[in-house]
């Protein structure tokens, strides 16, 4: 269902949701937008968050031996590129990872659709910020006007709010069209066939990569984690495939070189996942590049002319 709300009604919507869910949202910490517990709608600051909301579903560091039923949470201010990450990783881990699955089922993400392209993102190369899969999707398309796409599961929250008119919807569609026209396109389609195993890119990147792990930690689709015992607990900790220990076993290491690990990351994103799950493991958020201290560009991996190196 599509609704049309004004700012005041948005605050009401928040109130209704917060009665049933523990509420979280993006807040401003000295200019950084980051996720936090919020107590009121006023605290919410919409903007590109410093990291994706992955931690709501996959603990950064948590004991997996004790499973507790998660609280119902509502997260306001999620960017579409980040939300999309969950729908993509669902295909690999939903239903299998009990923690992820239970939290996914108990969390409602309220995504705010960008109306202007950000400086570095390239989501329009993956379809743009207006998503087909969502729970509650908000477009603040004019000053006091919000168009909301809501899954029917949440329709009780919208009782009494008016449904969007055709004109309103078409206004938003046009806005989205313009968004996608404005943002530079990167030809993602077919990258799995163009990319080359022996490309010189991997060696070039290996020369400069300092193995900080930022590209993994900041990625809304990276789901890998490591398991480690500490005392009586067994911790799941986010892992980075850029590190040698990621694949090392007592028998040896199939990806000993940094170049092979960097290649693996891009192959997983653009070749393997596409082959096994039918989607690219990337949403065009560009965080991996933004947070990379040595400016390794994921867009370059997409745009690179592999045939003429």
């Amino acid at each position: 269902m599509i609704y049309s709300l004004n700012a005041e009604e948005m605050a009401q919507l928040y109130e209704r949701i917060s009665k049933e869910f523990e509420t979280y949202g993006t807040v401003d910490i000295q200019g950084d937008i980051t996720f936090s517990r919020i107590e009121s709608y006023d605290e919410l600051r919409i903007g590109r968050s410093d990291k994706p909301p992955k931690e709501f579903l996959i603990g950064r560091n948590e004991n997996v031996l004790v499973f507790t039923e998660p609280n119902k949470k509502a997260v306001f201010g999620v960017m579409s590129c980040d939300l999309k990450g969950f729908y993509i990783m669902d295909k690999q881990i939903y239903g299998k990872d009990p923690f992820y699955t239970a939290r996914r089922d108990n969390t409602v993400f309220i995504n705010y659709v960008c109306t202007e392209p950000c400086e570095t993102g390239f989501c329009s190369s993956f379809g743009g910020p207006l998503l087909n899969d969502y729970q509650i999707q908000v477009i603040n398309y004019e000053n006091d006007k919000y168009l909301i796409y809501a899954d029917d599961a949440y329709k009780s929250f919208f009782e009494g709010f008016k449904q969007a008119s055709k004109e309103e919807i078409s206004k938003v569609e046009k806005l989205m069209h313009n968004f996608n026209m404005k943002q530079k396109k990167h030809e993602v389609e077919g990258i799995e066939n163009r990319i080359k195993w022996n490309s010189k890119l991997w060696d070039e990147y290996a020369k400069i990569c300092i193995q900080c792990g930022a590209c993994n930690y900041s990625c809304p689709t990276c789901y890998c984690f490591d398991l480690n015992d500490v005392g009586e607990e067994r911790f799941r900790e986010w892992d980075s495939c850029i590190l040698a220990g990621f694949t090392k076993t007592s028998a040896g290491n199939p990806r000993e070189s940094l170049a092979s690990r960097l290649r693996q990351r891009f192959y997983h994103k653009f070749v393997y996942y596409k082959k096994s799950k039918g989607e690219y493991l990337c949403t065009g958020c560009n965080r991996c590049t933004d947070d990379c201290p040595v400016d390794i560009e994921i867009k370059e991996v997409i745009d690179h002319d592999y045939n003429n190196e």
Binding site: V64, L65, V66, F67, E69, Q92, I93, K96, D97, P98, Y100, T101, A102, W197, Y223, C224, F225, D226, L227, N228, D229, V230, G231, E232, R234, R236, D239, C241, F246, T247, K248, T249, S250, A251, G252, P254, R255, S260, Q264, H268, V271, Y272, Y273, K275, S276
Partner: protein
């Protein structure tokens, strides 16, 4: 409300029996029935130290057995335990039901899932086993060899013999040509990557079909059920798509024999 099963949580099981096989390899028998087929693996754990993926050495009708080389931080301590954590089984198993004539080639500590296979088949199929180890003292299950010979055609070989050894010497590939009517067999391979790579080459040369060759791969399988992301080979996860792969489906993966 449905109770969710925590797939990360192992069952605590008593080790019923321990057998020292070589200086650094031992077999443990767990106090529970196998519920796995040959080729599948379990995650064994010691709380406070960690988990390790280990293939079952037992057939589906035996008590659960593992034969382990103490090399990692978990495996080097399992033998000292009375109780260990067990979860599984994970992954697929040798497609023994589909074939009547099977050649199993195992190198080194790759032998346990082949032992499981020998006991699973109970001599009901035409099973040939080539088992190679570095030296005679590295061979495990010596006490069962006679029993195996009743269930399969067994070829034992070592890279380097010693005074006590009057059996075959050489790599496993040396003895592949001794198997009659190779072409129409299925081959199950498990062992060091270089052994598997060379065996595959030879088997293809002798006319085996790539779709009838099966490899058991080993990677860093941490979760066992396709969520932690460590064990990929190409677009497969070894833990859920494998560990047994049909060669024709993986032959073009560049990281296959790493």
């Amino acid at each position: 409300m449905t109770t969710i099963m925590n797939s990360f949580k192992p069952h605590e099981k008593r080790i019923a029996r321990k057998i020292k096989e070589t200086t650094d390899i031992f077999t443990i028998e767990i106090d529970m029935e196998s519920n796995s087929y040959p080729g599948q693996f379990y995650e064994l754990s010691i709380l406070g130290i960690g988990e390790a993926p280990i293939s079952a050495a037992s057939s589906s009708s035996e008590k659960l057995k593992f034969t382990i080389r103490s090399i990692g931080h978990v495996t080097s301590k399992i033998f000292e335990q009375d109780v260990i954590g067990v979860r599984g089984p994970y992954g697929n198993y040798w497609p023994f039901k589909e074939y009547d004539r099977i050649l199993a080639i195992a190198g080194g500590i790759g032998i346990p899932p082949i032992r499981a296979l020998i006991h699973e088949l109970e001599g009901k199929k035409d099973l040939w086993v080539i088992y190679g180890a570095r030296t005679p003292s590295d061979l495990v299950y010596k006490y069962e060899f006679d029993q195996w010979r009743n269930k399969a055609n067994l070829i034992l070989t070592v890279d380097r013999g010693d005074e006590s050894w009057n059996g075959k010497v050489g790599l496993v590939t040396k003895y592949i040509p001794e198997i009659p009517d190779l072409k129409n067999m299925a081959a199950f391979l498990i062992g060091p990557p270089i052994m598997m790579e060379n065996s595959v080459k030879d088997l293809l040369k002798y006319g085996l079909q790539p779709e009838n060759i099966f490899l058991s791969l080993e990677r860093r399988m941490e979760c066992g059920f396709g969520v932690c992301g460590h064990c990929n080979v190409g677009h497969f996860y070894v833990c859920e798509d494998g560990p047994i792969f049909r060669y024709s489906e993986v032959s073009n993966l560049p990281e296959l024999f790493l």
